[in-house]
């Protein structure tokens, strides 16, 4: 019966921004009880299609049918009422309100004209129970992890809408366990007969959860195919329109191991954050950092960069000890740090792509010595080309770029400072497979030109591809250092999974 009439169908939809076309004549069909993945490169138009379905953008042409009836959602709220709920790339709830208030914002139960807080909390508990989430609903949302916030967002969307659930890169900042928790929720909703649209750049996850895949490229529909039996290489070439060169693996030059370390950490740590760590990083070396979210990966990077102050140990740069008390100091030493959370830690939405790229370099030079316009433009153009940043021009405000392209701009910002030591925290998150390869190639290239890199990543396969050495963190401790043949995903997984095996750390 689900086959008789699709739950949602999009026919011939087009959308242009200021004359630049973002979607052209796209068809898309979602059935009830189906998880439908929407894939494509950064800027392919996935988010734009979603925003048209959910009423955030008005379509220029074409029609959207929900259960056979044409719909014209005026805005997100309108779409919600029609039955289409959305959870965005970055969690969009209100962290200053309680969990219950977030679930019921705008539809709080009332008694005598006033909000019935007790009833609201009771119902919130009941809703979250169905997802197996027994949290305190009267606590502010800010107290909970991103994964839990994400589930709350889903619970809200489902409770309001109940027909179509749109998930735009919901897993981008979750670790493996959290993703599993989210997926069990998604499966449960699929079993209830909802239609779920899922956008992700993690192909493993797509294979894990999706039934059907639709691929977009440059705003056009490439194809809609069932997942079963779809070869991965075929899928990637559908997305890129070309073959991906497979298996980038860096050949490690053994001579670097003998040079003096550029950066050495000796017993560097901070109580309650990261246990003391010893680590040497040489020029021309990529040190990979593996570990689950919350294992202390990001905190370690923050210690090295002076964002958090260490309370034990020392950092030396080229043999001389440095008091790493602030990011300014770190930058003065030629360090650069590209953080993982682009929304809060980096992007200045109203500034142009050019301004965002020169930002750190300008700050480093001091605002008294401005870069000339010509220099700025040259720099911007260079990185737009090098990282394949999809933007109609360099003066476009960065907030109008797709999520993945914003990420690339952030990376360009730090590369532009030409650092000797670069820390990358999840450099490929939210970035499409094609650009993944670009960024990995860039990392290898930088390293070959003598830069020292510390790269944190959850993409173990990639980490193995470019790292000269990999350190593994767990429970805020460095538990292993993998070198030579031991650099493999297997060994990383084993190290993370092993219990109390600290003796191996060299």
């Amino acid at each position: 019966m689900a086959n008789a009439q699709p739950l949602l169908s999009v026919r011939g939809v087009s959308k242009a921004f200021l004359g630049v076309s973002a979607l052209e004549n796209v068809d898309f069909t979602l059935k009830a009880g189906e998880v439908h993945a929407l894939l494509g490169e950064n800027g392919a138009g996935k988010s734009t299609l979603i925003k048209i379905i959910t009423g955030a953008y008005r379509r220029d042409e074409g029609e959207v049918l929900l259960e056979g009836t044409p719909i014209f959602p005026r805005d997100v709220v309108d779409a919600q009422k029609l039955g289409i709920g959305t959870v965005y790339q970055e969690v969009n709830l209100l962290t200053n309100l309680t969990v219950a208030e977030n679930l019921f914002l705008g539809r709080q139960p009332k008694r005598f004209g006033l909000t019935d807080v007790r009833e609201m909390n009771r119902r919130s508990r009941a809703i979250l129970d169905t997802y197996g989430l027994g949290i305190d609903v009267t606590a502010p949302l800010a107290n909970f992890s991103v994964a839990i916030q994400q589930v709350v967002a889903i619970a809200r969307a489902v409770d309001i809408s109940g027909k179509v659930l749109v998930l735009d890169e919901p897993t981008a900042s979750l670790d493996a366990h959290e993703v599993e928790m989210l997926f069990s929720v998604v499966r449960q909703l699929r079993a209830r007969g909802m239609g779920i649209i899922f956008i992700s750049h993690f192909l493993d996850q797509v294979y894990q959860i999706a039934d059907t895949i639709t691929v977009l490229r440059n705003g056009r529909l490439i194809d809609t195919v069932p997942v079963a039996g779809l070869e991965r290489l075929k899928l990637v070439s559908m997305m890129l329109g070309r073959q991906l060169e497979s298996g980038i693996k860096r050949t490690i030059d053994p001579s670097t191991a003998k040079t003096e370390p550029l950066v050495s950490l000796r017993q560097l740590g901070k109580r309650g954050t990261v246990d003391p760590i010893d680590l040497d990083i040489r020029q021309g070396e990529v040190v990979g950092v593996a570990g689950l979210l919350g294992s202390g990966r990001t905190e370690m990077a923050q210690l090295v960069f002076g964002i958090e102050r260490a309370d034990s140990g020392t950092i030396s740069v080229a043999g001389a000890p440095v008091g790493m008390t602030s990011p300014r100091k770190a930058i003065a030493e030629g360090f650069a740090f590209c953080p993982e959370d682009r929304k809060t830690d980096g992007i200045v939405g109203d500034l142009s792509v050019r301004e965002n790229i020169i930002f750190a370099l300008q700050a480093q030079r001091g605002w008294m010595r401005p870069l000339s316009r010509g220099e700025q433009e040259a720099l911007a153009d260079r990185y737009i080309a090098a990282l394949d940043i999809r933007t109609s021009d360099r003066e476009k405000p960065i907030k109008f770029l797709s999520g993945g392209n914003q990420q690339k701009v952030l990376l360009a910002r730090w590369l532009a400072t030409n650092p000797r030591f670069l820390i990358l925290d999840e450099p490929t998150r939210g970035i499409d497979v094609g650009a993944h390869a670009e960024i990995i190639r860039l990392i290898i290239d930088l390293c070959e030109h003598g830069m020292a890199l510390l790269v944190i990543s959850s993409e173990l396969g990639e980490l193995v591809g470019y790292s000269s050495r990999i350190i593994v963190l767990r429970d805020r401790k460095m538990i292993d250092e993998l070198t030579g043949d031991r650099i493999s995903t297997d060994h990383i997984m084993k190290a993370i999974a092993s219990h109390g095996a600290t003796g191996e750390a060299a």
Binding site: N92, L94, V146, E178
Partner: protein
Amino acid sequence: MKNSKYLPLIATFVVFVLAYVICISVFPNMLSTRVAGNLLTDNAFLGITAVGMTFVILSGGIDLSVGSVIAFTGVFLSVILRDTSIHPLVAFVMVLCLTTAFGAAMGATIFFLDMPPFIVTLAGMFLARGISYLLTTDSVPITHPFYSTLQEIYFVMPGGGRLTLIAIVMLVVFAVGIVLAQRTRFGTYVYALGGNLTSAQLMGVPVAKTTVGIYALSGFLAGLSGIVFSLYTSAGYSLAAVGVELDAIAAVVIGGTLLTGGYGFVAGTFLGICIQGLIQTYIVFDGTLSSWWTKIVIGLLLFGFIALQRGLMWMSERSARNMRHASAVQASSA
């Protein structure tokens, strides 16, 4: 952890109790309902407008126009009552409609023209003050018998203190304000706007309506405060209530509301008003201190509270982060 949002409120309460204890130990006479009654009466107009200011600040905005609106209200009432035979009650309704509409217009400008509240309400401040000057530059006494009737209404509290009508109006406004903030959709929307505007929009908060509503409320309460002020002074003067907006903002911040919005309580503002009132009363009792000491102490308190809030924010961010780690580690070892 969970109650960290109450911490600024608790801090304010502690400061209030401390201030009270100090006052009483120096001037035992201050422990009387008479003093309490006077304190409430003297600060009634400030308290009423501070409730409006609390909503504005909770939503992440600011309203600099309230002092001028209070002056305008007084001038409007005094001129109307002098030149026409309109009954004061009718005049009250008229002026409340005007000030509410004025606030709503500012809210609409802020939202639809996407202008910073600071600028819009600054313009509103000049505008309202200017119109007051146009009406009259003199201090116009109000002699209507109905005014005397209203001024005579009071409850005698045990101990002989008088709870005047205007003090009662302020207490009622606070009570209604608390309910409005904590127990209505509008209240939650106000917090939502202060928390994150984009998220609020995506979650279906009627941002336009709420923004207009917030400034309309502030305008209404400024008008009500103006009426109370005219009852308090029996006159209307275009130069009155200069700087009251700043006193109101100070009361809100001392009351523990975050200036950037999203966190705070109407009840805190009440404590903020009481602390300001206590300082004034102390100075009156002392007799030798210049009244400027009020400003100095309030300045210091403001510094203290803003520092406290920074500290709290910093601490709660840290502990939230640690909690998240704890839960992530738990998940990973599960």
